[in-house]
Amino acid sequence: METIIGKYNYWIYIALMMIGFYAMIAKRNLVKKVVGMNIFQTAIILFFISIAYKRDATIPILIKSQEVINPSQYINPLPHVLMLTAIVVMVSTFGVALAIIMMLYNQYKTLDEDEIIEILKKK
């Protein structure tokens, strides 16, 4: 019982991550693959944020009147910093992937992976 209460957050992120992983390897539509990659990245971001959490702690903005700073009072700021930049990088890589997919659609008039391979084989 203690294992379930202590670890269920990881299991939720693993379920989310596997949904994205399935979309990446099983779907044939290229846009669905990229959306699956985004779900995968979201799961990893949630995992890092949950590592930062400490029980009975507050956000890492220090109270100025405090004389002695106790680190167990504030949650870990490092995963927040890394994920803050990772979210923006996620958006920009999504934009680049969509741009490449749009160029592929311009060239082959289809988004299906297998049809693109068929067209390439015919040449």
């Binding site: 209460i5 299991w11 949950s50 890492p60 903005i61 700021p77």
Partner: protein
């Protein structure tokens, strides 16, 4: 093909769930991630950088080189988008 993908996904998920049994509990104040380097950031941020928000001081000061790299990444992403997609009206090659 889809069944094969499903089997791979379930096996990967089972391996990951098995590995979480060794992870620290959720909200544990003594987990390894919150003992190594973050207490120093929290303790010294006010006296070293005069910034109460530890996230901002780590982002721009302690790990500023990292943020420079991230800014370069999104700069590159915008340049790639412009190079791939932008077509001007007087362009005869399209």
């Amino acid at each position: 093909m889809k069944l094969f993908a499903l089997i791979i996904v379930i096996m990967t998920g089972a391996t990951l769930i098995y590995s979480t049994l060794e992870m620290p509990n959720w909200g544990d104040p003594n987990s390894p991630a919150s003992l190594h380097v973050s207490p120093r950031y929290i303790e010294k941020t006010l006296e070293e950088t005069a910034t109460p928000n530890a996230v901002t001081s780590v982002l721009a000061d302690y790990r500023g080189y990292d943020t420079l790299g991230e800014t370069t990444v999104i700069f590159t992403a915008a340049v790639v988008c412009i190079l791939l997609l932008r077509r001007f009206e007087d362009d005869k090659t399209v």
